[in-house]
Symmetry: C2
Subunit: 251 residues, 2 copies
């Protein structure tokens, strides 16, 4: 028997340095033109360029740290102003130990430093925050790219988070537009004809991890196109992936 | 500028039903022949076929449940014999609440039901356990396939685990052979020339999630080939991904 055609993951290398106010959808569409995009393609965009386009940059020289930020930063050799920004981006501190700040962001994401990051940002005194509403960010990019293409293009916005129990960070979905974020196989028969239990797949997170292979960490390749994978239909959101606190055994 | 060639993920559909004692490496090599495998390809194999080949199947009719298993199973409408198998596969119960058993397996993995699973297994009274040593399983498959191919083929063995704070399961790596499981970018400059901090990427987990797109949940496609991604060199192991308990803030 023949092997079916592969799923393909293209890294789109030619996104120019993104500046506040840029129309990121238009930049992405232009950079992907040599491909070009075809119906069924899924766009996966790293958070950093989205935050830059949305001016989610903070000049640390404008920040007055609180007593808690000063104390923590002194103990663990951090920048107290950056710590202050992390505290302001958090609605709950999940763990605060050994120099590590695990925060619940205002979106409900649980991650180190509330997603505040200084890497790949121009300017020594600037840090980058997560988008205010990553689902709205994804929707804006999807609308612009879909209008240029003449067909609907689903968009996932990603960030790299650590997780309990396992080493290393992985790319996950923080914003989704134009597709479902989860696929629910409950009630469907398995290969033996028995009903499958508790099988809800976090497909947007798996697509985010797959895209990371093409994004790379040091290459300037913030956009990937996944081709040949049928995105699950639905009006998914990044927040669908955030577990309801009342159901979470780990709060 | 042109777009670089994509990373490709092939699902290998033609693995026959695997039986205890089968040489899984030989079956995989034969099924992938129409591709064929080329140097640089990474094989990603789901745990279920590995466990079947290694006869990690348990006939529930041979199991006498303990008092704890009987009590729990009665309260939550579970099969007490299957609960007993879960307890036997665990070295620690992490959470036991609302019918959910989160266990630390003897390998150190933390997952629901210690990885014991009844789906996609022939026989109403049979459950499937994780491989005893998934790194050794990966090494065996890699050795057989590499010998047939005449070049080294890295192998990742995967399973689908839930995680705290986020909905849905994702595919992760439980066994690795012929490549590094983690990529450490610490000390490397970012795109702005600044040193990156705390950036260790769980690349084997991301490859596992990428492969899941081709494995599917209902298709009988337990093997995927990832092509065009330069696997990080090293003697990685699935257990590299398990966080040292003394460093884990979530124990």
């Amino acid at each position: 028997m023949t092997i079916p055609p592969p799923i393909q993951i293209f890294g789109i290398p030619d996104i120019p340095e993104v500046r506040p106010g840029d129309d990121l959808g238009a930049l992405i569409w232009a950079a992907a033109r040599p491909l070009p995009l075809v119906p069924g393609d899924i766009l996966v965009v790293t958070q950093k360029v989205v935050s830059k386009a949305e001016d989610r940059l903070v000049d640390l020289r404008t920040i007055t740290p609180s007593a808690l930020a000063i104390d923590w930063a002194e103990r663990w050799e951090k920048d107290p102003r950056q710590t202050e920004v992390v505290l302001r981006e958090s609605r709950r501190i999940v763990r605060m130990d050994r120099g590590v700040l695990i925060c619940e962001t205002r979106h409900g994401f649980i991650c180190a430093n509330a997603g505040v990051d200084a890497s790949n940002i121009p300017g020594e005194e600037t840090v980058c925050l997560l988008p205010i509403d990553p689902d709205a960010s994804a929707r804006r990019i999807a609308d612009v790219v879909s209008a240029w293409c003449g067909f609907a293009v689903p968009v996932i916005i990603t960030d790299s988070f650590g997780r309990p129990w396992r080493n290393g960070i992985t790319n996950i979905a923080i914003g989704v537009a134009g597709m479902a974020a989860l696929v629910d196989y409950r009630g469907q028969p398995d290969t033996e004809g028995r009903e499958m239990h508790v099988t809800v797949l976090a497909i947007a997170d798996e697509l985010a991890s797959a895209a990371e292979l093409a994004h790379g960490k040091v290459n300037r390749c913030p956009v990937a196109v996944i081709r040949g994978y049928a995105a699950p239909t639905g009006a998914g959101q990044g927040r669908d992936l955030v577990m309801d606190p009342t159901r979470d055994l780990f709060r």
